[in-house]
């Protein structure tokens, strides 16, 4: 994936623009996950009756793999060899990272998690769709709202009502077609 039409010579770079600090931190996190694996793995109880290698061996092997591979990646990044950011039809690799949008999207997902129980699934889902579409730049707001409400009701009807998935219907409680 490193070479493609987009990052053929003379058109942009293969890696994420900017300094590789984030990439370095990510590689270091992989190493530290391996270390945590070793430390926490030592606490796994091994029953004396175990006839095989026991429940500790495989976790240790995976942790070792993470430490070695992670260390290799740290070295690579330090030596300037960086990963090729994922491509896609809707991805503009030449654009700078829009962190605000990422934070907004993540925030709306988090909000959704806290709204499902008090407000019911349809309202929580409509708020998520409305917020995500707005974060991604859809205008005007009233059209986003209409689509959000229709989508949430359709999904609640199809999955909650027809397929019997137990989505809390919120204010639709009592209307049988929306399940519950």
């Amino acid at each position: 994936m490193s070479t493609s039409v987009q990052n053929a010579p003379g058109s942009g770079t293969a890696a994420a623009p900017g300094k590789p600090i984030g990439e370095l931190i990510f590689a270091l996190l992989i190493v530290s996950l391996g270390v945590v694996g070793f430390v926490a793995g030592a606490g796994i109880q091994t029953p004396p009756s175990a006839s095989d290698i026991g429940p500790r061996a495989f976790p240790f092997a995976v942790s070792a793999m993470l430490v070695v591979v992670g260390a290799g990646l740290v070295l690579q990044v330090l030596r300037g060899r960086r990963g090729a950011a994922d491509e896609g039809e809707d991805v503009d690799l030449d654009a700078t990272t829009d962190w605000l949008t990422v934070v907004k999207l993540a925030g709306f997902v988090l909000l959704h998690a806290f709204l499902i129980v008090p407000l019911g699934w349809p309202i929580a889902a409509a708020i998520l769709f409305f917020g995500a579409a707005w974060s991604l730049g859809a205008r005007p707001w009233w059209r986003n709202l209409v689509i959000a409400i229709v989508l949430a009701l359709v999904l609640q009807f199809v999955f909650g009502g027809l397929l019997g998935v137990s989505l809390p219907p919120g204010f639709l409680e009592g209307l049988g077609v929306f399940g519950g």
């Binding site: 039409v5 091994t46 095989d52 591979v69 491509e87 654009a95 990422v102 997902v109 499902i116 769709f129």
Partner: protein
């Protein structure tokens, strides 16, 4: 020789798959599959993951038929996108995108779509026939192997998927390791000891595979695309003329050989874990380019129909080939196959060498539904292409907002607790950073799914040998598998290197029409690329 028994079993499979209810499920599957194949940002793996928690009420056969339809449909839909959308897509379809997109721009989009659809049908059907022939024999061999050989096969799957499904070997292996690690969280299945739960009751049952898959595929993708959304209008190249006039006699004459060659390249490549459809399409494209003569050769890089017909056929044949190790050994070699494996597990269908014996009715119904689905897809794709073009134009904010809503729906439906939505978000953020820093997602999903099976087989092997690790390589079959692994590895590394050089050369040529003519005049340099490595691709020397 195709035994009479298997033939009858296949006919019984057809009898099941042709029931009106199952035909409807297959139709629904291929419709959804084509739609998600057409839509950027959604793949068949993600769709199967999303649908799994919300199709619990279906019976196993119906669910498996739906997922098989999605699997094949996704392959068809992808070609429409790469031919008609004016932006470069994923590298798996880069060669098709190149020739097909050039054809579309030259007003030959209809022919490109038609050769892709008919080629996919021809390849899909032949490959499904091959699958029906080959799979029972592999399965008969597979039931004889013990845990030691099984461990060897899974090592092959891990290493090839980890090291080959991406541009960087180390990043692939890191992704695999993350998947294996997450799979460890929870109770150990053999000793019931808690591992990596840190005393949390939420982690004691482990982190649900579907939850992680949905998070990585859907939430990770939405966050990542959101961070770099391509703005401006979506440029879809219009298709003109009725679909009956799409494939002219001349097009057909130039297409049928590439279809067949693509099929017989794609199927074997799909069955071995060598990097999936990516390698198959590349091999087909390179061979078509080499075999073309005269006027046709000059069109390569500018819209040669052979360059669409061959790779598209290879892509579909490889998709059928992937089902051979999945159904006979229980070993997935792509992310979508991994999700199919989870689907089997969810419905309490034991995957592995016993599948053909213990659930033969279901397996043959699945294979029969692949034949049916293929035919449906041909009918759906030719006349209905206008609908898919409309789907392609969905405004991106709505598309990705919708993906997020489906993701939270799927996550919440796993256990009906909002905590799963928060775990979804956390793993989704991990998926975002993995995409950003070039870590492939598929190895993580494969590690997550195969990890527990691998560990139990490994421990069984070592219990039999009383802890002696030498036993793992002593069996002749296992030793052979490891030798084959080394061969596959060497071959794949070589092919990947070739492919990268080839793609960069093709991309350069596409930008400069004069060079195409120059390289077409010298056939040797056209196929054995000597083009210098592009200075921007820093990943090439990864080991």
């Amino acid at each position: 020789m195709f035994s009479v028994d298997n033939f009858f079993l296949l006919m019984e499979g057809f009898a099941t798959a042709m029931q009106p209810m199952y035909l409807l499920y297959a139709l629904g599957g291929v419709l959804v599959g084509t739609a998600v194949g057409v839509l950027p940002g959604i793949g068949p793996a993600m769709t199967v993951a999303l649908l799994m928690p919300i199709t619990y009420s279906l019976e196993p056969t119906a669910a498996i038929i739906v997922f098989a339809g999605i699997y094949y449909g996704g392959m068809y839909g992808g070609s429409t996108t790469s031919i008609l959308l004016n932006t470069p897509g994923e590298s798996a379809s880069i060669v098709t995108a190149l020739e097909g997109n050039k054809m579309a721009k030259a007003g030959r989009g209809a022919a490109a779509l038609a050769t892709a659809a008919v080629g996919s049908f021809v390849a899909g059907t032949i490959a499904t026939v091959l699958l029906s022939f080959v799979a029972p024999y592999v399965a008969a061999f597979a039931v004889q192997i013990g845990p030691v050989e099984y461990v060897a096969l899974m090592v092959v799957a891990f290493l090839t998927v980890g090291a080959l499904l991406g541009s960087s070997v180390l990043r692939g292996l890191a992704s695999l390791g993350l998947g294996l690690f997450i799979a460890l969280v929870g109770f150990d299945s053999l000793t019931a000891q808690q591992r990596y739960t840190f005393g949390s009751p939420f982690l004691a049952d482990g982190i649900d595979v579907v939850l992680v898959a949905v998070a990585l595929f859907a939430v990770g993708e939405a966050l990542y695309v959101g961070s770099r959304l391509r703005h401006g209008p979506i440029k879809v190249i219009p298709v003109t003329g009725g679909w009956t006039s799409w494939l002219r006699k001349d097009d057909l004459r130039r297409s049928w050989r590439p279809w067949l060659r693509g099929t017989f390249i794609g199927f074997p490549v799909g069955t071995i874990p060598a990097g999936g459809a990516d390698v198959a399409t590349f091999l087909s494209y390179a061979s078509e380019r080499k075999l073309a003569k005269g006027e046709n050769k000059k069109q390569f890089g500018k819209g040669a129909i052979e360059g669409v017909a061959g790779p598209e056929a290879a892509n579909n044949a490889a998709a059928a080939g992937v089902l051979v190790p999945l159904l006979t050994l229980g070993i997935p070699t792509t992310a979508t196959a991994a999700m199919m494996l989870v689907a089997f597990q969810r419905y309490q269908i034991p995957v592995g060498p016993q599948l053909f014996e213990s659930n033969s009715a279901l397996v043959w119904a699945l294979i029969a539904s692949l034949y049916v689905g293929n035919l449906m897809l041909l009918v759906l794709n030719l006349p209905l292409v206008g609908i898919w073009v409309k789907i392609l134009q969905i405004p991106r904010p709505y598309l990705y907002a919708g993906i997020l809503v489906f993701a939270v729906l799927g996550a919440f439906s796993v256990n009906f607790t909002p905590i799963d939505v928060i775990i979804l978000l956390i793993v989704g953020i991990l998926g975002f950073f993995m995409r950003r820093f070039g870590y492939p997602i598929a190895p993580m999903v494969v590690g997550l799914i195969l990890g527990p099976i691998f560990e139990s087989q490994l421990r069984r092997s070592l219990a039999i040998s009383q802890g002696d690790p030498v036993a793992l390589v002593q069996s002749p079959v296992a030793a052979t598998i490891y030798v084959v692994l080394i061969v596959i590895f060497a071959l794949s590394m070589f092919l990947k290197r070739r492919q990268r050089q080839f793609e960069s050369m093709v991309a350069e040529n596409a930008d400069a029409p004069d060079v195409v003519r120059a390289s077409a005049a010298e056939p040797e340099t056209a196929v054995v690329p000597t083009a210098p490595r592009t200075p921007d691709s820093r990943e090439d020397t990864d080991r």
